[in-house]
Symmetry: C2
Subunit: 376 residues, 2 copies
């Protein structure tokens, strides 16, 4: 079976590129810090097994559903990297019962007390990382906030919690405009979490884990001194946002979506396809980058970009392909029925729109179908 024989739209994963991307990150971190791949992008057991080859075996997840699924696939060392609340601990306890070594994160003294109390009520012992806010973009206690040590003391003192360390995520890296700016943010991310770790240790408390991570800072940061593990997820597949940041080249993007030409508007220079925002996602992450890729960059069936053809607009099940500067191109080369591939803005969002990966190896032959899971 080749890609053009499948119904469209379908999500395609180039396994050769996946392997190269995994190898690149492994080489980059080797001997400097552990890699705890974030599986929120891939949500696939097959991808997790490949991402863990040669690594210490832990993964990061963004939902307890992911934790459950990957535990079922044999991964026991799980970091649930979204702030936990007491109401979720029953689920956590069930995962521990099934053999998970599940670490949670939180960022306030009040919640640390409530979580410890609930854990005690459930009769579990809970490993916890303190989330530190190193770039102001989301959750976390400030690196210099007095509350940091208060949280550490609560978690260490309470019999139902185990203070395992600190973590941060430099999500602002997605908004930086140069490789140098990302490298600077990576250093800020590192210092912003190594400092708190030192404060915790200076207070006589344990802090074995110092965890950082985002694909841009992981690949473009220079020092990892004091860091014990790196969390990243998009590096497995990459996407147009990462290419726009200078983190990867277009020929490293492992994910694409097939579509079929279903019509034209010759006067406007439009090719219309059956892959709209339902297949590409509504993510417009390149809109604020110097090169706006619309809803995706158009490639031939072999995955080679035409250059300036993008999915400029999308309805639920229609994509409109045009030249990005409105230049005319030969519509005759895109007859009704032709199957194309589109590189996505944001791998996490586009992959989430599909139930499986059609796996190829730098060609058009479908060698396997890997299931994805979704929801909560």
């Amino acid at each position: 079976m080749t890609l053009d024989q499948l119904e469209t739209p379908r999500l395609v994963l180039d396994e050769a590129r996946l392997e190269a991307n995994l190898a690149r990150m492994a080489r980059h971190l080797a001997g400097r810090a552990g890699l705890r791949p974030h599986m929120k992008t891939a949500k696939s057991a097959e991808v997790a097994h490949r991402a863990l080859e040669g690594q210490f075996g832990g993964i990061t997840v963004s939902t307890l559903k992911e934790a459950e699924q990957f535990l079922g696939a044999g991964v026991r060392d799980l970091l649930y990297a979204v702030g936990v609340v007491p109401g979720k601990l029953e689920q956590v306890a069930a995962l521990q019962d099934r053999g998970a070594d599940l670490t949670v994160v939180l960022d306030s003294a009040q919640n640390a007390r409530a979580v410890a109390q609930r854990a005690e009520g459930l009769g579990i012992r809970l490993p916890v990382l303190i989330e530190v806010d190193t770039d102001g973009h989301r959750s976390g206690v400030g690196p210099d906030a007095p509350e940091l040590l208060e949280i550490a003391r609560i978690l260490h003192a309470h019999p139902a919690t185990e203070l395992r360390g600190v973590m941060t995520h430099a999500g602002e890296s997605y908004n930086r405009r140069s490789v140098e700016a990302i490298a600077a943010l990576a250093e800020q991310e590192r210092l912003g979490v190594v400092g708190p770790a030192e404060r915790i240790r200076a207070a006589g408390l344990p802090c074995p884990v110092v965890s950082v991570g985002s694909t841009p800072t992981a690949l473009l940061g220079r020092s990892l001194e004091g860091v014990t593990e790196v969390r990243a997820g998009v590096y497995m597949f990459f996407d147009l946002v990462m290419a726009g940041l200078g983190v990867c080249g277009l020929d490293e993007i492992a994910l694409s979506v097939t579509c079929t030409v279903i019509g034209h508007q010759p006067e406007k220079g439009w090719v219309i396809t059956d892959a709209g925002w339902m297949a590409m996602s509504r993510d417009r992450g390149t809109a604020k980058q110097p090169t706006d890729q619309g809803y995706g960059l158009v490639c031939d069936l072999e995955g080679r970009p035409f250059g300036d053809l993008i999915v400029a607009d999308a309805s639920q099940e229609h994509g409109i392909i045009t030249h990005r500067r409105g230049e005319r191109f030969d519509l005759g080369a895109f007859p009704v029925g032709r199957v194309l591939r589109v590189l996505p803005n944001h791998a996490c969002a586009t992959a989430a729109a599909h139930p499986a990966y059609q796996v190829v190896r730098s060609d058009t032959e479908v060698r396997a179908v890997w299931e994805r899971f979704g929801f909560w």
Copy 2:
């Protein structure tokens, strides 16, 4: 079970509002045109059965997967409203074999010939509507284009196709800025498809079906003279985009997403929740409206909006709630663990992120769980 006892995020459907919305559209169209509900929003057999009560029984779908699912749920009269191509006719034939009266659409003479030829090869007879472009936003042949009659003649002459009529979709209505502008577009939509129907009939060809539809034009248009059926889908649920257009009130929006407060950034006035863009979708349809609702409007558990609290930013599994003008509000009213509801920008996109509806009736008690299907 009440909504706050479920894991979060979950998709909530208020059945009382659904019923009122269905009744509103039914009243609005009664005696003027048939209603062929577009099921691409709901993708649920339970919703389809309710939407068809008192109607003639046909529905609209945007994928052949929807056609297959709704046929399985007992709906036989199906309009596949995305341009068909020869490569999809094998699936269409299989649906016909199972008893579907499936109509397809196309918009070029070349494709009409290719589709007719493939239908003949498969030994099927295919009802076809000609898609007309009445607002320049997507597919369709121009209302005055000579090609319209050429397509009609091909479809009528060929033994494998049946010319059933014309259809259009005024998708530009989503971009209009006033009720008057939408009403004007509705009239343009009507004239743009009634005219072609008259041209086809004047040429001695049949044109029994004259189909229009979008929720804004369906509800705000004044005349339906010459129209035989209306297709609309979002009217069942409504959403913030529709409210922003003046098509509905906030208290008519039947869809919401639950989330749990997982933390705060007190210095910034942020409440952080576990419903990010994965649960709300990346749709930012209100960004270009006078009132930007971010990733959604925040309500209490009973579904009452707080007013100016919106999900101002979102990561994959984090939502950041702030006051829309940056004003301070009492974070103490939103403790960790509190469950909230968020009204979505775009019902189609948000619903697609979830596998089921938690059904309530203007309260917080979950009375049923209705499954949704997705993908292709």
